[in-house]
């Protein structure tokens, strides 16, 4: 059983029209099978299910050790997992501070303003570059 099958479940009856619509009036490949399916639907041979429950995986990834990792783990992970941050290209401290400010100002991240500098320095130490001549 693949994991993609494991973590989504279907419960209760689906509105019949909705599913029948997927199967009829189409010139797509697979139409013959679909028409057979629609005929079966019309005869009432429908399984009794419908609510769709999807279980999304959770991430175990933490920010790597360093001065400020505690802030990153406590604050950044509130709204998103760490992977995309760790996959960024090397950015300057100013660029990291800009990204962190965007999280605070545009998206309402509850990061205290006095932690922005420390978090930007941490990001620089993990995945940073210094500006040319800087």
């Amino acid at each position: 059983m693949s994991s993609s099958v494991r973590n989504i479940a279907v419960i209760r009856a689906v509105p019949l029209l909705f599913w029948a619509a997927l199967a009829t009036g189409s010139a797509w490949p697979g139409t013959a099978d679909s028409e057979a399916a629609a005929a079966k639907a019309a005869s009432g041979a429908v399984q009794s299910w419908s609510k769709v429950r999807a279980e999304l995986p959770t991430s175990q990834t933490l920010f790597p050790p360093g001065n400020g990792a505690d802030i990153a783990n406590a604050q950044c992970l509130i709204c998103h997992s760490a992977e995309m941050v760790l996959l960024q290209p090397a950015l300057t401290q100013d660029q990291w501070a800009g990204e962190i400010d965007k999280m605070r100002n545009a998206y309402g991240a509850p990061l205290p303003p006095d932690q922005v500098g420390a978090l930007a320095r941490y990001r620089l130490s993990i995945n940073g570059r210094h500006p040319p001549g800087g």
Binding site: I8, R12, A20, C79, E83, Y107
Partner: protein, 411 residues
Amino acid sequence: MQQSIFLPRRRRLLAGVGGIGLTGLLGASTWNAVAATPVELPFANGRRELVTNFPQKGAMLLQRTRPPLLETPFEVFDQGVFTPNDRFYVRWHLANIPDVIDPLTFRLNVRGHVRQPISLTLDDLVRDFAPFEIAAVNQCSGNSRGFFSPRVAGGQWANGAMGNARWKGVRLKDVLERAGVKAGALQVRFSGLDTGVVAQTPNFMKSLAIDHARDGEVMIAYAMNGEPLPFLNGFPLRLVVPGWYATYWVKMLNDITVLDQADDNFWTAKAYLIPDTPFADVLPGQKGVNMIPINRMLPRSFFTNIQDGAVVKVGQATTVRGIAFGGDSGLTKVLFTSDAGGLWQQARLGPDHGKYSFRQWEVPLRLASQGRHKLMVKAFNASGNAQPDHANWNGAGFMRNVIESVSVQAV
């Protein structure tokens, strides 16, 4: 004349209504193997895990678990012009995604500057409106951002933040007509079931001009490639905006509000802005550029059966192929060169599935001399746009569409 290698669409097996539902809802993936080997995308910090643990998804490149960002591995695009649902890329902004959706109680609300607000069930949509189908490419605004030079922050996608599907549903125009748009309507705003984790995060909403919303092509899809939409691609309803970037294709669509003034919400007014220049192209650090909401897509073409660094035999006949699309208008031609742009030849195009769809292209190739050869491919569209020679650049990493090239070694 070589035999065509255009591939038939992958056939789906549907057995009974339970089969439709289960195929649609469970993904019924045949891809059970967990690929342990990471994939190296061709830019710095490009290592990506290939994961199989997302519902209804096969092997995908992991950009982020929460909210999910999953890239389609590029070899999928060599398998046909329609991207299978279980390999279609995934991009969410906000992590509070409902984990249960009940199609019986789900409602699509249409309200705002209308004569009669309405609340529609899925069966209402199917029963009361003429079905509409279109093949269209859905491409993330930031597709290919990882190739930007200098690099920019954001989702570090290679070329797999795009997909092509047959969308089936109803015209937005018909639904708006049912509610009765009042005179003076300016825009239509769309929102889905997802919300931010903290209350301060702006709800994800996007707006289109009223005339665009009523153009008869913008639609509300309840099916994708003949199946219910995968959960992560917006089950049960998704806005489809043919020819426009995917940021407008609101997932889990449940609210449509007609506005009599310009939408000033964050996601429409402040996010997803591009420089108002050809190809959204500016110089790094350039100031004083007028910014506008991202909109129409540009033409693109890709190689799908040959990669950079491939080795071929001198004098041996082979076929090079790929996919292309016109963006906001039909693909008119695809040109190919095997000598770095010295001589361009027209590629043969596969079946036409409509102006917003991927289309396959192919050319016979025989390299007569040893050494490196630079192959390039260039798409043209009916709006008069062609892919540019130099890569467009902007600070958000949007709309990359430079001519693609691969270097091959003839031995």
